[in-house]
Symmetry: C2
Subunit: 189 residues, 2 copies
Amino acid sequence: MKKETRKQEITRVAAKLFKEKGYTAVTMRDLAAEMGIKAASLYNHIDSKQTILQNIIITIAEDFTNGMQAITSLECSSLQKLEKIIALHIKIATTNANGLAALNSDWMHLKHKLDYYLKLRQDYENNVKHIIQNGIAKHEIKNIDPDVMVFSMLTTLRSLYLWIPKKEIASIEDLKASLTKILLTGINK
Amino acid sequence: MKKETRKQEITRVAAKLFKEKGYTAVTMRDLAAEMGIKAASLYNHIDSKQTILQNIIITIAEDFTNGMQAITSLECSSLQKLEKIIALHIKIATTNANGLAALNSDWMHLKHKLDYYLKLRQDYENNVKHIIQNGIAKHEIKNIDPDVMVFSMLTTLRSLYLWIPKKEIASIEDLKASLTKILLTGINK
DNA sequence: TACATAGACTAACAACTGTTAGTTTAACTT
DNA sequence: AAGTTAAACTAACAGTTGTTAGTCTATGTA
């Protein structure tokens, strides 16, 4: 566990502020004050406000993409894959709740990387949908509108960052169990 | 159906812009341009940017509160009440998707009415939780952590505004049916 | 016709925005 | 001891922000 660089510290603190007030509402002076320095000093470490947002969001989006890649290449049932997806979301939400907040609320403020982000997101959703469609075809999953299933499941999982910080670490396993039961037995055949 | 006043028109257009970019990122000049007038002219109709946000959010929050009050006073099973709650969310999301977006993303930018909003929201959540707890006590609902159930159900319902505008009006009834099945058979005993 | 009103306009404000330039200071390296 | 560097600082910039004051114009009413 290497010591955090100043740049990483700024990114982490920025994510926290973005979660509280949103990207646009957080000024570089706010961020500097939270770091205990002046706004101009931030620029010794980072290029711009925009690249802070980029770093936060793209890092997480790629975490999801990599996680999904691992899951799709598994040889297991659709339900088991969905279970892995739930675990992936819980993992990332516990690791980086603040960053997830920025991803969920401020992605539209991305500039250069907006299209890239949207592609990663769309690919991810398509993967979830294919897993569900496969499950329906193999009679593992109820024959309900797959779009509605994807929506219901992903909106819950995408909001975990709001929820997890309130729970103690010990109960994360319980959360995973409850959530799996709620999300999957509703569609399990 | 009375004709929309200029003030209502501004509120409606503001909600649309707030949905796209968020409250802070939308300037009064943006809003004026969308209305086809100059920023200063807006002030012939509204008091401030803040009161626009207030009107949007508090109106909807009170719609939810009133809807919940009607539901809690019903004499029916817990599952039927939850079904009514799903219907309430779909109703409001179809009526005012843009306003819901502002409520979900920009409530923290409320000033005078922030505490009032938070109270309405907390009361609403408590009501949902009580309905679920009652259902568990009466063996209508599976004995899973009620907090996780409330979270899962409400985050899905609160995100409907993102989803519904993509669907045609004809399929809203289908959506309601699918969503009820997904959300309720997962917890139904 | 005379008048009142609604609703647009221009001009301006003080405060705040992200960012740059140039400088200082304290800690490591040689 | 001398030199280098990381990382803070002050000062300032050009543009943007919400909002106010005062003015003009068309429409409806007496």
